[in-house]
Amino acid sequence: MTLNWIIDNAARIGELTAWHAALSVVPTVLGLLVAIPLGWWASRSPRIYPLVIGTSGLLYTIPSIALFVLLPKVLGTRILDPLNVVVALTLYSIALLVRVIADGLASVPHDTVQAATAMGYRPWQRLLHVELPVAVPAIGGGLRVAVVSNVSIVTMAALLGIPQLGSLFTQGFSLRLTLPIVVGIVLCLVLSVVLDVLVHAATRALTPWQQKAETA
């Protein structure tokens, strides 16, 4: 019976997994794109830093289910619109990453920055070619946390009926079947491990000098 249920529902499970992956990855990428300039700004201004970190801390406090419910009011979307989930998770990703990026950029050695300036790098070139690459390991660490958390938070959207792996939990509960729930949990864990490994691999690929230092 176990295998039959999975085979019978393979297409739907695949579809839910694809939605789940998209709803987890897209907000992480969007969050990173917003958090980089914001974190850079915060790392350069002692006045902006506490403001940005404080605000993102409070934002992170708001339970995801509350945000999913309230965003339609703000965005003018329908309650079932996946856009609500994307926006909510993007906000959480920004909140998490902005601090990591600000601290990562602030911890780039002073000498490195000065050397780049002396070589004639303009501030934005220096950011793009020197400071960000040096901060990649720290940012990668934050990104791993963000993407794994997102995989877990997306399931909450099942309470509102937005399809993703969490839908297997509500389905299992209403049918009084444990199998869909277990399948959903396992697939969520697999998805977070896969995404975690991907981000980790990308971080290593972007910092070839780190491997050299390790093997030397």
Binding site: S64, A66, L96, S149
Partner: protein
Amino acid sequence: MSILDWFLDPAQWAGADSIPVQVGYHLLYSGTALLVALAIAVPLGVYIGYTGRGELLVAGAANALRALPTFGLLVLVVMLVAPLVGSRLAFVGPTIVVLVLLAVPPILSGTVAGIQGADPGAVGAARATGYTRPQILWHVQVPCALPLFLSGIRNATLQIVSTATVAAYVSLKGLGRYIIDGRASSDYTQMAAGAVLVAVVALVLELAFLGLGRAVVSPGLTRNPLPTCRRTRTVRPDLVPPSTPRKAAS
């Protein structure tokens, strides 16, 4: 009916299902789970931080928990356990167990990280002054651990409060009722009002913890600068999560 009208409706403020009653239930479940989690995690965390045994276990639990979908875990545990209990507590018991399970790792890692993160200089100075090991633990390491310990409890509390909201799905009382019942009857106003209430409760608790942190943490610890070379900056240890915060239901 607007959300404001909903809040101004006297019917929401009196009776068995009124706002104060649901807030009360929410805080009752959350408080119970937090106390049980503290009773488990604090002694264990002090032991691990003090002896250094089982550190990998703590890191592993924190990471695994971040990936675990709390909503799925909740539904699964309630479905497996509820038929065995078969009383009024059929749903409450398993839910509290899940809430405790979710709250233990952040408190544990906060306690361990705090005790181990105590400035080695301060520990060495205490030893040189003639402090015994237990004295170092209670008079140096524990006070130094307070900021990380408190942020561990704060993370745990937010985790509990938000998961308790989701627990309305498995028929628990509390603020999640408004969201779940509103969804079932397509009453968006009720859902939004519930969401506002949950967000307010979470924010009030967060601010209370920040205030508590300021009150009990030694001022000597709050001037701990980050390893930044370009400029010195005041860091708020009360905002520094132990390792990284987990956000599931929260």
